[in-house]
Amino acid sequence: MSTFDIILQQLINGLLIGSFYSLVALGYSMVYGIIMLLNFAHGDIYMAGAFVAFVMLAVVSPVLGAGWLGIVAAMIASMFLVGLLGVFIQRVAYRPMLGAPRLSILITAIGVSLVLYNSVMAITDGEFQAFTTDLGFAGVDVGSVHITYTQIILVVATAILMISLNWFISKTMYGKAMRAIALDKDACRLMGINVNKIIALTFFVGSSLAAAAGTMAGVYYGSIHFFMGFVIGLKAFTAAVIGGIGSIPGAMIGGLVLGLLEAAGTQLPFIGSEWKDVFAFGLLILLLVFRPTGILGKTEIERM
């Protein structure tokens, strides 16, 4: 491979994994923006999304096949069901905790994560499930770089989801209410906004996006397992912080930045790929020290 090919290929790699990070990071950021909760269970929601889609695909594939049609149907079903799961979790575990010390809520989130993770482990008996689809490796070639149609479709799908979310957030009344709640809950109450309902909706949307990402990951990587949400959860959280937690465009950008950083990390001269996470986390720390609110986060009043 020529240097150009390597760079191009790594760009594509970074973009693809970055778009998954972005989708998951959005959920972190939305929830954080609105109730200041680091939802540690979000990675497990992603995992649940993959599993629900897996089951759904098995249900629909006799009719729709295991090609794109079936996958899209399974994904939509998964997004809906996992969205509801997100709302359920919010209602049962987080809402009663409003007003409790923030660390306790954080621990509750870890508890939710444990429950989700271990439930799926019990159900699957800890086994890896092969997410079998009919998608092949066909694609286009640029030099020695091979880009499969699946990759192209996934990036496009992510883009569509993010554009839709952006539209939802900026154009619909619900989206505007979400942003408003993040700014001032009491003022929202005085506008006649049912704050609890909007918070639930936020969990629904965030969880749906994670479910979409989980489904896509299952389709793309071909294997799902109960701890698949852990690493991506950490990475997406990182991405959300890089972008400026609470900021929607920030989460999108943060995901892509992290994806590209990691891809670059594997290709670094002199040090091996085993250092790529050190590289990514190191840059994150530096970023936070020098720009504590992330790329797109708002700066607060300067205080000495």
Binding site: S119, H146, G222, S273
Partner: protein
């Protein structure tokens, strides 16, 4: 209101739990004296037994490696029942008790202490090398004979107090087998990828050294993080160094994904995987991409003529195929039985001595003798190849 929701939560989870239980292999009373200490209360139904002989099993029964651990436990149970049907060891009924190592060093030391303090005569177990390592000294201090059927990191050897016996081929054995295969396949430049855990790193490093000593080149020595799904940038990195062959030394789950992504990313060289990856799941996960992949494997039950009956028994009883370490675990118990019979007593010192003197004991997986280091004298590794969705013998 709060309480109602909590109740709903608890009920929901409990139903989940029940559902989860339903999916687990049936664990009926007759087959498993199990980890619960009821085993001790069980008195021999057959009057012919002269007391009990307690054997400890140390495998992961929870955590990400639980599947393997349960396969091992099941296989040992078959051996126990067979032996008991034949009249036990030294006329004593064999009972077992399981300690969960969970593939975690801290859990494993607790499990080992638990086994030691419940007065087991000997232990069969050790799946994850990393978790087995710190338990060696616990067994060593109590002088309990330990037969290790799966863990095979060479790091175990220098830390063996003398009471542990490894019946799985070690990393060194496997590296020999693997490099021989690489040469046979005409490879010159190879890439090695491991998963950052003790076992796969050990195998990767030994293979690396052997290959370079043989005058060849390792162009890439890489690691992936456990739990990550995306290896695309690694694939690109490997491709840019254009190796003739890639050796994956870790487990099937990530191996399957790596193979898929290697082929997807346009890698065209040979792919060889280590014994942690010899699972049919690898092919399921990788799909067509797995075609032609080689595996350096410890002897799989399917290819052992001697194991035909075991295979059938296992399937009949557990409604499942035996796992990759089932045969060795089964052998492990017979090895112990043999040693105890030869020692003529349950004296631990005598059993250890007898174990060390084992000479050519026929097991499912081949003949067992030990070197001075208590390591299997003769490698029992085989090479298999994925063809049409299943492993076939490639030798």
């Amino acid at each position: 209101m709060k309480k109602v929701f909590l109740l709903a939560l608890v009920i929901g989870l409990m139903s989940l739990a029940v559902f989860g239980c339903g999916n687990q292999p049936p664990a009926s009373d007759d087959q498993q004296s199990g980890e619960n200490d009821q085993a001790e209360e069980q008195t021999g139904e057959q009057a012919s037994f002269d007391g009990e002989l307690k054997i400890g099993i140390m495998v992961p029964t929870t955590g990400s490696e639980a599947t393997y651990g349960k396969d091992m436990e099941n296989a040992i149970q078959i051996a126990v029942d067979e032996i008991n049907a034949e009249g036990g060891i030294l006329g004593k009924k064999v009972v077992t008790t399981t300690g969960d190592a969970a593939c975690d060093p801290q859990m494993a030391t607790a499990a080992a202490s638990k086994l030691v303090s419940s007065d087991v005569t000997a232990v069969v177990g050790g799946y994850c090398s990393g978790a087995t390592l710190p338990t060696l000294s616990i067994y060593g201090d109590a002088n309990v004979p330990l037969v290790i059927p799966a863990a095979n990191s060479t790091k175990l050897i220098p830390n063996n107090p003398g009471n542990a016996f490894m019946i799985n081929g070690t990393g060194a054995h496997q590296a020999q087998k693997a490099t021989a295969l690489f040469e046979r396949l005409g490879a010159e430049k190879i890439a090695i990828v491991h998963q950052g855990d003790g076992y796969s790193e050990d195998l990767a490093k030994i293979t690396n050294d052997v290959w370079e000593e043989d005058g060849h080149e390792v162009v890439a020595f890489e690691v992936v993080n456990k739990g990550e799904q995306d290896f695309s940038s690694l694939v690109t990195n490997v491709r840019s160094k254009s190796p003739d062959l890639l050796y994956w030394t870790a487990y099937y789950a990530d191996g399957g994904m790596l193979i898929k992504q290697l082929r997807q990313g346009g890698y065209e060289g040979e792919i060889v995987v280590g014994d942690g990856s010899n699972s049919p799941k690898l092919m399921e996960i990788a799909g067509n991409a797995a075609e032609g992949v080689y595996v350096t494997s410890n002897p799989l039950v399917e290819y052992l003529p001697a194991a035909k009956k075991f295979m059938e028994d296992y399937k009949a009883r557990f409604n499942n195929d035996p796992g990759p370490y089932s045969a060795l675990s089964y052998d492990g118990l017979y090895l112990l039985a043999d040693a105890i019979e030869r020692a003529g007593s349950t004296d631990k010192e005598a059993i250890i001595k007898a174990l060390a003197e084992t000479e050519g004991l026929e097991g499912l997986a081949g003949k067992v003798s030990f070197t001075e280091d208590n390591v299997l004298a003769e490698s029992n590794f085989v090479v298999l190849q994925a063809k049409g969705g299943s492993w076939t013998n490639a030798e």
